[in-house]
């Protein structure tokens, strides 16, 4: 849409690539999680949080076993 938009997006991709390298450095086994470019890579972490991480947790009671549960 414009130069500013392009630069912002480009910066997100660069930051994402650095994140991926760090996250993947811990993935040593074949079944380990892999991190890389996906549909969210053009978003900054803040944009991603604001759009997709909108659940509000409620404090749940600790589980004490089936008797208490009943």
């Amino acid at each position: 849409e414009g130069k500013g938009e392009f630069e912002s997006c480009n910066r997100c991709f660069q930051n994402a690539t650095e994140r991926h390298a760090y996250l993947n450095s811990f993935s040593t086994q074949p079944q380990s999680a892999k991190y890389g470019l996906n549909q969210f890579s053009s978003l900054s972490p803040e944009e991603f949080r604001d759009l997709y991480l909108r659940a509000i947790p409620e404090q749940a009671l600790p589980f004490f076993g089936s008797k208490t549960k009943e």
Binding site: F26, A33, Q39, R49, L53, R54, A55, P57, P62
Partner: protein, 214 residues
């Protein structure tokens, strides 16, 4: 408990959906649990209306976010019939609440329980097997970059922010993991699913868990 259990094998889990640019994960998580509970109760598996929960559960903020527990309280208190998705389709934006005086199909919530299973993921496994897929709230900050595989690192439990549906677990391999259905479409993760290491409350998966009964 079996070493592996997956509610998808019993055809009670509806396909992965895409919440799009709407903070409605809390509604997808709750509706996913209700769809499964309905199918487990012997009724046909059908997609129920997420939009109805977004529009009508005023205790939550629709696309601006919400709490699965508040949605469950609302469903239980009002005994509202959650109608099929075909009757009340998803629009990925807040809308007016529609009332159905004679709904075709659908189901109402009878009861639900919420628990903190942190440190007790064996008990959470039992709850999953006994009751059905579980609604859970996790810290999904690192999921922005996830492509697939089992998450074992970089997933804190400090800041729960995303609601999902836990549909099974697999402890047959070297790394036991939870099988979690997300609502970011099938292009994300393992065809819309994410695997989270079981046993260390990774991503806070055991902190806020709900089971439903319809």
């Amino acid at each position: 408990l079996p070493a592996k259990f997956d509610w998808r094998d019993r055809a009670v889990v509806a396909p992965v959906q895409n919440q799009q640019a709407c903070g409605s994960c809390w509604a997808f998580s709750v509706v996913g649990a209700m769809q499964a509970a309905k199918a487990i109760a012997g009724m046909p598996l059908e997609e129920l209306s997420v939009q109805q929960v977004i529009d009508c559960c005023f205790q939550n903020g629709g696309c601006n976010g919400g709490s699965p527990t508040k949605a469950l309280f609302w469903l239980q208190r009002t005994r509202i019939n959650l109608v099929p998705q075909s009757e009340y389709p998803y629009k990925a934006k807040n809308g007016m609440c529609h009332f159905f005086s004679h709904p075709k199909g659908g189901v109402a919530l009878r009861n639900f329980t919420t628990f903190d299973f942190s440190g007790q993921e064996e008990a959470m496994k039992a709850e999953l097997v006994e009751r059905g897929p579980l609604s859970a709230v996790v810290d999904a900050v690192s999921w922005q970059d996830y492509l697939g595989g089992i998450i074992q690192h970089h997933c804190s439990s400090r800041w729960p922010n995303h609601a999902v549906l836990v549909v099974g677990y697999d402890a047959t391999g070297e790394i036991p993991f939870w099988i979690v259905q997300n609502s970011w479409g099938t292009d994300w993760g393992n065809e819309g699913y994410v695997y989270v290491k079981l046993g260390s409350n990774l991503c806070g998966i055991a902190d806020s868990v709900a089971a439903v009964l319809v």
